[in-house]
């Protein structure tokens, strides 16, 4: 693989994998919490939260990137706070690319997890409560195992989306080789230089393979969540 891809191309693929991995892993707990809140809780700001979560799906990515820059840039309110308190800089760093990717992938992740939570019969959770399980235990021992395939499907989708994120990333963290030049940014950069087509094609093939693999994996996992949840209600012994 390293022979087939040139060093610059390989660098972009490796960076994208790193960015997508951290974007997915770090946003997953928030994704589960948000999905659970939207699926199960009735609270005043529910519609607002729902809109906010889906916003990156509808906004032009460049707008999302710009808003991220305003908020998380070194002079932005959150960005300045993070730098002073934790020494964490996001703007023009790969960490910022991970944040942009996470924000852009969040709606997909929440949607997949939310659907799987809605497929779980709340009566099972009630049954667990009567057997002595507190709300947290009910979630850990009943809800989470039942939605696990859905959570994994959401994570896979989010990972694939994060791999391909371009507009918000380039606006927020630019296109710095080795730091923020992810796979799509690299494709864009190679398109700008004469003779870059060969590199572009190789990266395009890598992108397509990753995207298709992720879609297939999430489809299989989604089917498993259905089977798991249906297990009980099938009624027939050999269902």
């Amino acid at each position: 693989m390293t022979d087939w891809l040139g060093p610059e191309e390989w660098q972009a693929v490796a960076l994208s994998l790193k960015v997508a991995f951290w974007a997915t892993v770090l946003s997953l707990p928030f994704g589960i919490l948000t999905a659970y809140a939207l699926a199960r809780w009735r609270f005043p700001g529910r519609a607002l939260l729902n809109g906010l979560v889906h916003l990156p799906l509808i906004l032009p990515p460049v707008v999302t990137g710009y808003l991220l820059l305003l908020t998380f840039g070194r002079r932005g309110p959150v960005g300045a706070f993070l730098e002073q308190t934790f020494g964490l800089v996001l703007a023009f760093r790969w960490t910022g690319a991970a944040l942009a990717a996470a924000v852009m992938a969040f709606p997909l992740m929440v949607r997949a997890i939310r659907l799987s939570i809605e497929a779980v019969d709340p009566k099972l959770e009630q049954a667990a409560a009567t057997l002595g399980a507190s709300k947290l235990w009910v979630f850990v021992t009943i809800t989470l195992p039942l939605i696990l395939p859905g959570v994994l499907a959401g994570a896979v989708l989010a990972f694939a989306k994060a791999m391909g994120e371009f507009g918000a990333t380039i606006t927020f963290v630019s296109n710095i080789p080795g730091e923020t030049r992810t796979l799509p940014s690299a494709i864009y950069a190679f398109l700008q230089v004469p003779g870059g087509e060969a590199s572009v094609w190789r990266l395009v093939i890598v992108s397509v393979v990753i995207a298709l693999g992720a879609l297939a994996a999430s489809e299989v996992l989604a089917r498993r969540v259905q089977a798991r949840v249906r297990g009980e209600n099938a009624g027939r012994p050999d269902a």
Binding site: D121, K123, L124, Q126, A127, A128, A129, T130, L131, G132, A133, S134, K135, W137, V138, T141, I142, P145, L146, R228, V229, R230, G231, E232, A234, G235, P237, D238, A239
Partner: protein, 368 residues
């Protein structure tokens, strides 16, 4: 243990369409909530479990207050230690039968039966490694009962646990429930709209009607009250007698001893000496003033009329004291008039042997 006031329940709640106002007390044993669907039975059980929160309520189980609106006490479901057997099982699909049975152990310390003991009691030992999706309806329900038992409950709630099952499956589970009633000290609140189940299992019968308590008392008393026949259903009405198996005769009959004399019923599997309760439907009982001779019916019990209730239709219901127990007979008003039936009249009751079906007979174990 306060045998006479094991359960104290008082609930009041206004729904959009009807209001619930229920209060009763019950001793040790099975307390059956009986009534039409929509009468509010499940709401009562859900409130006892803490799954629904009534406007006002007080629930005390064996001296332990689960909720008391006046005292601002409300225990969440997971702290109530009620084992709830739902109508539709609600087994956890991702766990094996063993996993389901052991689920409550994690949260409830204390002595109690082991998985193997419960599995043996309920006849599910061979299913332990299976998933719920590979169980039959009757098996699922037994696992659900076992799961509730394993959680070391201070009380069992059963919401029509047999409603989803056919006759043979019901017959398979009822004996387990009777053993549970007689061999554990755990009080059971049992919702049903099947009189045969109630007659076999219940110690106390609470008749729920339109969100209120219409009658409450020992099952034999409520079932033999002629005034309640319309609520219980004219077809299903019938009193409950206690009896003991005396002999199994070679011609396919089993001889029982009850307070009023000997009864013959189609052969039973229960051993000699086994105590039973026996439901005799009012429509299967005939009344004669003189002891009938030359009649095919084998069962003739002598007694005294204690009450007579005439409805608007052609029927009348007669309550007869047989020994220390009460029987109900449904006859026509015309016959009642012809025989001059009134309280105090000595009569003979004739019960057709084949009319006592296996579904009307329940076992009683131990000293209960």
């Amino acid at each position: 243990m306060r045998g006479d006031r094991m359960l104290e329940i008082a609930l009041r709640h206004r729904f959009a369409e009807f209001s619930l106002d229920v209060a009763f007390e019950a001793p040790q044993g099975v307390t059956a909530l009986f009534g039409r669907s929509g009468a509010g039975k499940t709401t009562v059980v859900d409130a006892v479990a803490g799954l629904m929160r009534p406007d006002e309520g007080r629930v005390v189980v064996d001296g332990r207050v689960l909720q008391d609106a006046a005292a601002r006490i409300w225990l969440p479901p997971h702290k109530r230690r009620v084992g709830y057997v739902f109508q539709e099982g609600r087994l956890f699909p991702h766990l094996t039968v063993r996993g389901n049975l052991e689920y409550g152990l994690r949260f409830n310390a204390g002595a109690g039966p082991s998985v193997d003991e419960v599995a043996d009691l309920l006849g599910i030992a061979s299913l332990l490694e299976r998933r719920p999706s590979r169980l039959s309806g009757g098996e699922k329900q037994r696992v659900a009962i076992g799961r509730a038992l394993m959680a070391r409950p201070a009380m069992l709630l059963m919401d029509e646990p047999l409603a989803a099952l056919d006759g043979p499956r019901k017959a398979e589970i009822l004996p387990y429930l009777a053993r549970l009633r007689d061999e554990t000290k755990v009080p059971i609140l049992y919702v049903s709209h099947a009189l045969d189940e109630v007659a076999q299992l219940a110690t106390t019968l609470v008749l729920i009607e339109e969100g209120g308590v219409r009658a409450c008392g020992p099952v034999a008393e409520v079932l033999s009250d002629p005034a309640l026949v319309p609520q219980l259903g004219v077809r299903g009405a019938g009193a409950v007698l206690s009896a003991t198996v005396v002999a199994h005769d070679p011609d396919g009959l089993t001889e029982l001893a009850c307070a009023g004399g000997r009864l013959f019923v189609p052969a039973l599997a229960e051993p000699v000496g086994q105590r039973l309760r026996l439901r005799i439907e009012a429509q299967d009982v005939m009344i004669a003033l003189d002891r009938p001779e030359g009649i095919s019916a084998l069962n003739i019990l002598s007694g005294v009329v204690t009450a007579l209730r005439q409805g608007d239709g052609p029927g009348a219901v007669v309550q007869i004291a047989v020994g220390e127990e009460l029987l109900l007979a449904r006859i026509t008003r015309r016959s009642a008039r012809a025989l001059n039936l009134a309280a105090g009249v000595p009569v003979h009751t004739v019960i057709k042997t084949v009319s006592v079906a296996p579904g009307d007979i329940g076992a009683v174990h131990g000293g209960a």
